[in-house]
Amino acid sequence: MPYPDSLKELIKKVEATRPARVEKKKAGGEFPALNLDERKGVLEQFHPDVKEEGRREIKIGPNKGYRICHEMVDLVEARSRVNPDKVDLSKPDYTTDVLIIGGGGAGTSAALLAQEQGAKVIIATKLRHGDANTMMAEGGIQAATKGWKDSPYYHYLDIMGGGHFTNVPELVSTLSKEAPDVIRWLLSLGCNFSKFEDGTLKTMHGGGTSRKRMHFAADITGAEMMRTVRDEARNRIDDISVIEFSPAVELIMNDKGACAGAVLYNMETAEYLVIKAKSVVMATGGSGRLHVQNFMTTNHYGATADGIVMAYRAGVPLCFLHTIQYHPTGVIFPEQAEGILITEKFRGAGANLVNVDGNQFVFEREPRDVEAACIIRECVNVNKGVPTPTGKFGIWLDSPMLDVMFGEGYVKKEFPGKHILFSRFGIDIGVEPMLIYPTLHYQNGGLEFKDDGSTKIPGFYVAGEVGGGIHGENRLMGNSLLDIMVYGRISGKNAAQYAMNGVVDGELTLDHVRKYHQEIDESGIETDRISPMLLPDYTLEHVKAKQYSAEYEGTLR
């Protein structure tokens, strides 16, 4: 959908101020950057993370007193989807060695490694195998594969710096040391990373990297990785079975305190199914679809923090969930592209951010969090946002000024992917600016786990975005595609070895859920909320108002 006339009118204001802005840039002038105090001020008032009213203390469980976003607390302070007394644990519907919850990159690499140890594996996943955030990653995967200029040592420093030096050192060390082996492994499975003619892998910079170590497969790196490991899992169909559209809703423990399986919910038939397993790997990914503070998101449909909820009920602590990564420039209009990332490279090249009057209000190369906070302030506080036909506000990212500065055709040549995306909607971003707003991108924190993938619960392992600690308070681009492969492989391997060797068999139980319910009641939380969420609810009010007999179980009908 091309820009409607109302927006075309407003674009004239951007065009009116453009010559002066370009002249100023050519003369070396920039919009003044904020000093450290000003940054702090705008962050404290407007960054969704820093804002105190955006969060509250968790009242129950291992992290009682921890302040995180309301949306996450709402899920944690909620009852199970299923009454534990109703579930018949005596006749499991499936038995396996290793159960993997979540069929994204972390879960699938865990499955491959577990199978290689000789284990029988079941992957239970919410949507189709591979419908996951992993599929969506475009940018790349970090690894210090070039020993003449790079090593796990420099990678380690970069990761720590990116995470404000708060990361868990053992997790970071293992991540950086295992990285080249992950690249080797993916290549050996037939993943097509971009290469020079002599076979040297192409690498580029990402935010916060001291060496160019971001490997990529054209601009669909995550998809290429995901479809490669998925295809190999399908080759091992005798040992790896995949159950789709059947998310886990609760972990099952045994009376010895070890994790012993999960309850699945078949979303198509509304049945609950019991899987008995010797060990379990949690790999459910992130939580963008919680739409924290109503933000749009880059994440896939099933990113609803389910793993956090299930494991927390079983007693696994959370960490680093007080920070969430917002990307400052997501598309807010046209609606079809909503939430999609606009690369930082536009701002790096000098494209201004301007408001509804066509005026600059922020330096375009502030750090991500500051940039996002300033955009939000301009829209909700200064009231100079650009109203979109979909009833929201955005800010102009003035891409056409790059063509003015560097010559006609520059935007098309330098940003072919985004140019094509917008041209499908009848918008030429070399001529018309883009409308952007911050978008919810990555769950920095998650479940506490160790660098062998294990947790404080025997038989329970963690891998991927659902885990916390690797990235501390802030993940750098390219390190999560890496972490899902590193810890997917480690968790899969160790979960299998535990299953083949160290298991303590016992009576299956959901007592932890009963106890959790009791804790909710005793803490005085009054709620009929249930969780995990499983899928977001996008049914509109005008429909709901007429669904006189519909029953919603949480967000699901």
Partner: protein, 271 residues
């Protein structure tokens, strides 16, 4: 305060044009600017199947539609395609397709292996229905032809953007599942045909031999900062910050020949 919900309330009601669409033959009036996916949600559908990434890359939302008075079959991804007045649409969230199971360790990267796994390749009638139906504009028939000619590299390149939505398989006269074949081909090319990257193996070997352990041990010993007690390990963190700040940065403009002056914790003979 920074809450798009609040923002929405501030906006005057936008009177949006509604258009009729026919979801599986049944008429609904939906806002003209919505994607098919959001239009179906607007109409009251709740997705279980048929939605995945919602960003045009997972292939979960393949949709076919027709317009009155026009015999063409049109296709699109429900998450990327804007509704049009009077479109008759249905999603095809699943279509049976056979995938050959083969032992990855045993394949060598030869076209004959693909032929053996998928003999139906040779039933292709060059009808081009697959290319016409591909929502990613992939020349499906051409990559099938390239495979038949044994040119796996060309097929890998032509099929690279395939999102495995399965639409090509729904239309194939030869009843093959083109995208599974292309997946096998791309993996063969990536692992067995493309030039190897020895620098990766050298680095892996160096790491396994413990080459970087000393350097890593030293930085790890400096520990970490507790976000809720930032002064607890201050001296060490200051040292860590110093190391961080003085690490030499590679500039954006370098090519593959660049090497840092500081050779600490690097590898000789790494290329």
């Amino acid at each position: 305060m920074c809450d798009t919900a609040t923002i929405e309330k501030k906006v005057p009601e936008v009177a949006e044009e509604l258009v009729p669409i026919y979801i599986m033959g049944k008429k609904y009036e939906v806002p003209a600017s919505l994607t098919i996916m959001k239009a179906m949600e607007y109409a009251g559908y709740q997705y279980i199947r048929g939605a995945g990434c919602r960003g045009g890359i997972c292939g979960a939302c393949a949709t076919v539609y027709r317009k009155p008075g026009d015999y063409h079959i049109r296709v699109g991804l429900a998450c990327q395609t804007v509704v049009e007045a009077d479109m008759y649409l249905t999603q095809i969230p699943f279509f049976p397709a056979n995938r050959a199971v083969y032992k990855w360790e045993d394949v060598r990267g030869e076209a004959e292996e693909v032929f053996a796994a998928y003999p139906e390749l040779f039933r292709c009638l060059a009808c081009n229905a697959c290319t016409k139906v591909c929502p990613m504009d992939i020349p499906v028939m051409d990559y099938v032809a390239a495979i038949k000619q044994g040119n796996l590299e060309k097929a890998a390149e032509l099929s690279f953007d395939c999102i495995q939505c399965g639409l090509c398989a729904t239309r194939c006269m030869a009843e093959m599942a083109q995208y599974h074949i292309a997946q096998m081909v791309r993996r063969l090319v990536g692992a067995k045909i493309a030039v190897p990257s020895p620098h990766v193996d050298k680095q892996v070997a160096a790491i396994k031999s413990g080459h970087y352990d000393e350097a890593l041990k030293e930085v790890m010993a400096l520990g970490t900062m507790d976000p809720f007690n930032q002064d607890a390990n201050k001296e060490n963190i200051d040292k860590l910050k110093e190391l961080y700040n003085k690490r030499q940065g590679e500039s954006h403009a370098t090519d593959e020949s660049w090497e840092p002056d500081d050779k600490y914790a690097l590898l000789e003979d790494a290329r």
